[in-house]
Structures are given as C-alpha cells and as structure tokens.
Symmetry: C2
Subunit: 403 residues, 2 copies
C-alpha cells in the first residue's frame, strides 16, 4: 500500500501537545465561493450539498440519504416549559440513527474522490457506526476502534454493516491514540472527529437545515450536547458560512451541555478558562459524551464564546429522567447523550442563560434505540399479565397507583 | 366514561368467524374526492396528507413528522443481484423506527377529531410503539397489549413514550382478543391492525410516496414482508386510489414475503386457496411477522391476486443472513421482519416470480435497532484488544482468516 499524505492538523501547532492529550491545531475547511441564495433543491439533494460542501463531483457522494431531518414544533413540550418558540432538530432520523452520519457522508465522499479504499476511526460508538454505514453503501472498508464498553446495540450495528471492529480494552481516548498509530502504519484515511477537518465541515449541514427551515426568522440559541465539541463546531461553522454568504445577519448563541462526569468544555466556559483541563476518569451514562481530553476544545471554546453562548452541566440522573420526559412530551425517543439537551435546556433556563420567550432549537443527536439499557433505568417494566379482563383491571389499577 | 359507538368491522360478515379466529368483515375507507394531480406540497405536509387521507382539519394531525422516507437507489445491491432497477423504501426512518407510524398517525388524528382520550391496541411490538409515540406527541393515552416475549427494545421504547403497557403471557393473537374485550369494557378507541379500517388507510401513504418519487415511471413489483397483511393492503389501497384518481395507469404486482413458521397468507397464495389456514404454533425470528390467524387475510389475498402478485416463503436462517447482507450492500440496518424483504426478493428471483430487468421496490419496514439480539446472531462479535499496534495487527490477521 502506498503512502498517502493527508494534512489532518496544523504541522506547527499540533506539535505543541497540551497536558492530558488535548489535540491542538485542528484545521478548518474554507469554502471560497459560498452560495448567496438558498439553492432550490432540497437539503439532502446532491445539488444542495455540493453548493455548500467541498464536494466537486456529486457522484462522489455516498448513495445513502443523510440529513434532511425534521425541525419539529413540539407543542406539548413548549407548554410544559412555558416556551412559545421551541423546536427540536431530530437528527436521530439519520440512516444509522445519529447526527454522526453527516460527518461520515463528507469524509466518505472525500475518500471516493481520492481513491482511498480504507477509512478508519476511533469513536465512542456513533461515529464508528456512521462510518461503517456510509462505507458500506459506498463499497469501502471501515476499520473502527471503539471502547469495548460501548453499548451492545452500537457494536452489533457497526458489525452488521461489515466494519472491521476493534473493541479496545481501554477508554475512548486510548482508542483515539491507537487509531492514529494504525492509520500511520497502514496508510488508512483517518476520520477521527476534530482530527480530520472534514468531520466538522460535514456536520455543518445541520445548521444549514435549521436556518433554511426557520427563515426568515433566526433562532436565538441552539442547545447542543457535547463530548469532543465537534457537533458544536460543525453547527458554528454552518452559521459562520451562512453569515459570510449573507444568508443570515448574525449567529445564534451556542449553549453547550455536558454531563457532570465529563464536563471539561462546559467547565472551561463557566470558569472563563482559556483552555480545558482534561478529566482522566471521565464517566457518564451518556456514553457518547464521555471523553477525557476533548479533541476539539480549542475551536469549540472559541466558537461558543464568539456566539455569546455558554456551558451547562447536568447530572446523570437528570439525563436518565430526560429520556422518558422527552419521549412523553414529544414522541421522540432519544439516547442519553441526546436527551441531555433537554436536561441542559431546563438547567439553562433555571440559570438564566436562556429566556422563556427566546427562539430555541434543541439538537437531538441520536436515537434511544442505540442504548436500551440506559433507557430502561428511567422506566418501570411491568410484569406480564394473564390474557383475561380481570388481569387487565388489576394491572390498570396498579399502574394508576404507580403514577 | 360514556359509550362511543364506532364501526370497526362489517356487522354482517364479522359474525361469520372463520376457523382459527381469522377476522372477517374488515372495512375499507373510501375517499370520495381524490386529487387528480400531485399536490405541490411535500409528502409529509398537512396539505398533502389531508388531500389523500380522511382528515378534514389539518390541526387534527399529530405534531410528529411521519413518512417522507427515502426511496433509495442501491447501486451495490443492484450490482450484487444483477438488477438494474431496484429501490429500497426505507421506512425504518419513521419517528418510532417503523412503518407502523403511518397507521398510528391517521388513527391518532381521528381520535383527536372525535375527542377520544384513550387509544388501545394489540401488537407484536412495532404498532404499539408507534401508537405510543403518536399518542405521546398528541397528549392522548395509549394502552397497549403485547406478547410478553416482544424484543426488550420495543418494550422499553413504548414504556419510555409513557404508554400503559400490558405484556400478555400469551401470543399476539391472545393479545389481540384481549384488546378487543378491553376496548369494549372501557370504551377505548381500538387501533388494532385490520380491525380499525384507518390502519390500512394510514399505511397507504407509503404507496403514494413511492409513486410520487418514481413518476412518471411505475414499479413493476413491490416486495413486502407480511404478518397480518395490513402493510400489503395499505400499499394496495394507495395504488388503487392513485389508479382511481388517474395518477397511475395500472397497479404494481404485490409480492408478499412470510417466514416459513408463519406463512398462512403466502401458503394460500401459493396453493390457490380461497382463504387462509391459521397456524396455531406460528413462530419466527421475525417477531413482527408472527401471527397465528392473519387478521387481514381476506383483503390481502384479494389485493395480491388482483395485482397479479404472489407469495414467497423464506427460512429464518435466510432472514438472519439477510440482515448483514442488506446492511453491507446498502448501509441500511433492518430488523428481521424488514430484512425478510431481501430474502424474499432473492427467493422470488430464483422462483421466476420477479425478473432481473424489472423495476422493483423493497419495503424496509423497521430498523435493526429494534432487535439487536437477532442481528447479533448473524454476525461475529470480536474480542477486545489491548491498545497497542501489535494487538491491532493480530486482530486484523484474525479477521482476514474469518472472512
């Protein structure tokens, strides 16, 4: 296999490694000519995507419909929270069930453009699954490094897509370092989040869709669960591109939500620190948000601050409670990391970071079907009943007692 | 609670119960004035839905985006099967992860129109989950009767939506009868498939979307996994409405796929029997397709025969193998019942029921995340590795040996 040189990170900055392994020198993609008007074509169409993304030839796009997810009015949740202008961006409706498909779409398109046959990534689960799905649709090989503790649904899903899965006896951060070493050894294209700049660029399509759906109005704030901070940076990049193109007058505030056991970015935002302090023993029920050293801390802190946004920290208990609360008020079943957006919104309101009369969008980043074991902790599983009406009446009386 | 009279089944025919409990007298909804041209609005919009469905006031539609799922070209699967014109209708992209959301959308809209506060249903799992999601978004109560053996993901999901779940120690057919009795006792609106005529009517939107996406071409055949036969009847109703409206010149052939352990409809189609023979000990890995007495056998047999279609029977082994086969060739991860469509297509080709040069659509009815345990049976779960390059090399060599 021949060597394929690809510039992932800034050759100068990346040599200055921060304590704890925080990556420096993450690069940004600059699209020189952005559209000055919304394309007529729908957001999932090749015509729309190639006009905003660095994809020269639409035939390089994988044959799997990514994005174009609903921006939903949620009347019952609005009433419950006393917010008249709240929306959910339901990115759990992507093909592999998470917003990570947006990044994998672009990275896979670039692999096709460059004639690369193997893509590799480290992931807490969803990014690896997304890469496996997009690579399968395209006919490329995916090699994925995930913590062996990832929820079984994520492992089974990526294996079903045919990925070569390497469950790492270690943390996400161990998997991340190992994937870098393996890509260097085997000349694979690395899709690691915040390392390959096309991950941030791919995720910006969610911002484009939110703005296109709400135009001519703008959201005041977008609430985003964060691990490495790449979904946040992707949305920020989308809003920045739209501001540059003249399609929006200003950018919404970015409100970043992290679980208390893995809150490096939110803590830095709240403390006003210039950089993050890694959390070596990071842990949370929201597995997708667990990182010791957020890989995209630098750009994420810059973008959230530039937007006038803030960081919010939530407990695991509030995340678990938010899963059925969100499902019962909206009909959307979210994984813990995604339900954290609702827990974070309620915290942000309580802390005065978001006002009841603002226009707010919650990013729902992945489906609850990805992690049934965690969802089960938030509900009561009823006992089976015999198939007769008396048993029905007894069970109904019992369920009323429990409510 | 006052009595609410609602005509579910024909008062005359339904009294003539067939042996084994096959329901007779399923009613059909007739829309007197159908559109004679495609609405400008997208398929998920209230304007589109109210023009084809019996919903007078768009405000009665639940606030949850149902349908509008992708009709996908699948280049790698086309090449693998030697079929130049194959599409997948990916209905796993509905909000609760299955095509059943389409039926629940309409039944919930009717409940809102009529001022009903409680909806009940029996289900193998997906229909109950769909009802729970739509009822939650609307603010209605859902009471669901499911076999206690339903996959845990389906149970956890419907409980998260806040449904009152009654796991029945018995079969789907036991749950079905119990739900009828409970609705009669408590005056709930029953959403049972093939019993409430709006279930068939709601599912027809998948047919409308397929035709709208392919126009002016038509599919020659649509391959549909079947349990009770309601998805089949829903598609047939959609095609029939479009023929009546003049929007299509003829209807596609319906190819019905059933697992060998629950094949009452397919067997009747293959034998040329006027009716079905129930299978009291029905069983399959495709839990969504397991019914002893298909509730919609009469209309399903009529519709498949009128279309010039046929029945196909597949083994559980071929269904389990179809999950990773479909995922690896398309990037779509399907539950066993949905993957049965691919197994069925390959059988139909081998039997000469579908030709390689025909235009064919496969209905993918639910996501693989609904039943991880079954998907796991079709793949090999690798052992964890230590986070070092030597372990990566060893694992890669092992994975090559396995391939």
């Amino acid at each position: 296999m021949e060597e394929r040189p690809f510039l992932y990170v800034c050759p100068t900055c990346s040599t200055e490694q921060e304590p704890g392994g925080v990556t420096r020198g993450t690069l940004e993609v600059v699209i020189e000519e952005l559209p000055s008007a919304w394309p007529e074509a729908p957001a999932t169409s090749p015509a729309f995507l190639t006009s905003f993304l660095p994809v020269g030839d639409p035939r390089h796009l994988p044959p799997l419909a990514v994005g174009g997810t609903p921006l939903m009015e949620v009347p019952r949740l609005r009433k419950e929270l006393g917010m008249g202008a709240l929306w959910l961006k339901d990115d759990s409706r992507n093909p592999s069930g998470s917003t990570k498909d947006r990044a994998s779409l672009l990275v896979t398109a670039k692999a096709t453009e460059w004639g690369v046959d193997t893509l590799a990534t480290a992931s807490t689960g969803n990014a690896a699954t997304a890469l496996a799905a997009l690579a399968a649709a395209t006919g490329l090989r995916a090699v994925v490094f995930v913590p062996a503790t990832a929820p079984p649904a994520k492992l089974v899903q990526m294996l079903s897509y045919g990925a070569t899965v390497l469950p790492v006896a270690g943390t996400y951060d161990d998997a991340f370092e190992l994937s870098l070493a393996a890509c260097a050894r085997f000349s694979w294209l690395n899709r690691n989040t915040a390392y390959n700049p096309f991950t941030i660029e791919g995720k910006k399509t969610a911002a484009l869709e939110i703005i296109a759906a709400m135009a001519p109005e703008l959201p005041d704030a977008v609430v985003i669960p964060a691990g490495d901070g790449v979904i946040t940076a992707g949305l920020a990049k989308g809003f920045a591109d739209l501001e540059r193109s003249g399609l929006i007058a200003h950018r919404p505030r970015l409100v970043v939500v992290q679980p208390e056991g893995s809150a490096a970015i939110a803590t830095a935002l709240r403390d006003g620190s210039p950089g993050v302090t890694p959390v070596p023993d990071a842990a949370s029920v929201a597995d997708s948000l667990v990182v010791a050293a957020p890989r995209n801390a630098t750009l994420c802190l810059r973008d959230v601050r530039a937007s006038g946004g803030s960081g919010v920290i939530v407990t695991d208990a509030s995340i678990l409670a938010a899963i059925p609360r969100l499902a019962r008020l909206t009909g959307i079943f979210a994984e813990p990391a995604a339900a954290a957006a609702l827990a974070g919104l309620e915290t942000a309101i309580a802390e005065g970071l978001v006002a009841h009369d603002e226009r707010v969008v919650l990013m729902i980043t992945g489906t609850g079907l990805k992690d049934i074991a965690s969802a089960r902790r938030g509900i009561h599983m009823p006992d089976p009943i015999e198939p007769d009406l008396d048993s029905v009446e007894t069970a109904l009386a019992r369920s009323c007692d429990e409510v």
